[in-house]
């Protein structure tokens, strides 16, 4: 696993913090590591914390969508939390509405939604 991106188990979900300086290779590695851990630890959800992400491009957008797709297949819901306004505007402008992910304002919100689910 890369040094800048961490995966931690929080309650019944995996919390993934994506840092701003994440590289394309690291994010692809993440996909691999994450899918293994979802299967192994049998979690209900994956929370992608992108609050430190200031810039997104179509690549990052697509990877997020793919992460959500993989989690879905492994029976875990994906929550994207802490998206910055500028990032939201950019993704909408790129036409990436991320319909397969759930979104929440913060980690707390995502966890409470997961508990209810």
């Amino acid at each position: 696993m890369s040094g800048v991106t961490s995966i931690n188990l929080v309650e019944n979900a995996l919390l993934v913090s994506i840092q701003d300086d994440v590289t394309d290779t690291e994010i692809l590695d993440l996909q691999e590591t994450l899918s293994n851990r979802i299967a192994k630890e049998n979690v209900k959800g994956v929370i992608l914390d992108i609050s430190s992400l200031e810039i997104v491009d179509t690549f990052v957008g697509r990877v997020i969508a793919q992460l959500a797709g993989i989690s879905r297949l492994l029976a875990a819901e994906t929550y994207v939390v802490g998206m910055r306004p500028a990032v939201a505007v950019t993704l909408v402008e790129l036409g990436m509405y991320l319909p397969e992910t759930r979104t929440a304002l913060s980690l707390t919100h995502a966890l409470s939604q997961l508990r209810r689910a």
């Binding site: 994207v80 939390v81 802490g82 998206m83 910055r84 306004p85 990032v87 939201a88 505007v89 993704l91 909408v92 402008e93 509405y97 991320l98 319909p99 979104t103 929440a104 304002l105 913060s106 919100h109 995502a110």
Partner: protein, 291 residues
């Protein structure tokens, strides 16, 4: 020593300054551009005197070998006076035509005096007339430019004010925001509205946002596109978006245009939207039975 090209003009301005001013005023009256309703006689006279003095100063120092540019330092006085006069006139509602004719009216008195000058005839007269024409034309063009610049500034200021006025994000309740949209929603405004809204969601940690379009006159594909994009961005931030104020008329138009709102909730009135929003953040509105 003044150059030969402008010597005659300068002589006229020096020997018969007040005569030219009076006749300039007279021509303005004749052309119907002297707005007695907006300016008193003494005001107009003072303005004309000042302009002509600055003009004379420019002609004396700013014309070299029959060439000149109103952007030179020598014309600074004229530019300054002109800026003042134009600002005054714009604020009192003078039209561009009146403004241009007002300056061009200076030609007639100057031509008349050149004609009457001893020894000025034939080719020499034509040359002098040409010089006056070029000077006054440049003067008039510059006036119009300043005039339009003034107007542009007013328009720009009003546009800015409208933009700011028209995008308030109001916190209705804990974690419930509303955005009352009024007027037309073009790309620039939609962008402004969206950024404003997303920033407020972040600051207030809002969970539900009501976008009310009661005040939006017409919804076409473009406007719907803007609304849905804003709603998508709101969802990405982790909040929920309700579009309210969809009148029966607008609902019909949207269906006829084939606009699909997807998963965005829509309500006909802000009232139902509010009660839904409160429910989602865990509140209920209850009638007080005791009263």
């Amino acid at each position: 020593m003044p150059q030969t090209a402008t010597a005659n003009i300068l002589t006229i301005l020096e020997t018969d300054f007040s005569g030219v001013v009076e006749e300039w005023l007279g021509t303005q009256v004749k052309e119907g551009v002297k707005r007695s309703d907006l300016f008193s006689d003494s005001e107009s006279r003072a303005q004309n005197q000042e302009l002509l003095k600055a003009f004379g100063k420019g002609v004396r120092a700013g014309v070299v070998n029959e060439e000149f540019s109103l952007d030179d330092d020598a014309w600074e006085d004229l530019r300054a006076v002109l800026a003042d006069v134009s600002k005054e006139r714009v604020s009192r509602g003078v039209t561009p035509t009146e403004m241009a004719t007002f300056v061009l009216a200076l030609k007639a008195p100057l031509f008349k005096r050149l004609e009457a000058m001893p020894g000025v005839e034939g080719m020499k007269l034509i040359r002098d007339v040409l010089m006056v024409t070029r000077l006054v034309d440049a003067f008039a063009i510059h006036t119009n430019e300043i005039f339009i610049g003034e107007r542009d500034q007013i328009i720009e200021r009003q546009r800015q004010e409208m933009l700011e006025l028209s995008t308030p994000v109001v916190e209705l309740w804990d974690r419930v925001l509303t955005l009352p949209l009024i007027g037309t929603l073009d790309s620039a405004r939609a962008q402004e509205v969206m950024e404003n809204l997303l920033q407020t969601i972040l600051e207030r940690q809002a969970e539900v946002v009501i976008m009310d379009i009661t005040g939006v006159g017409t919804v076409d594909t473009q406007v719907a596109q803007h609304l849905l994009r804003a709603a998508a961005a709101v969802r990405l931030m982790g909040a929920e978006c309700i579009i309210s104020g969809i009148s029966p008329m607008i609902a019909q138009t949207m269906v006829q245009l084939g606009i699909d709102v997807g998963t965005v909730s829509t309500r006909s009135s802000i009232r139902t939207a509010l009660s839904d929003a409160l429910q989602r953040v865990g509140y209920v509105i209850k009638k007080n039975e005791a009263s």
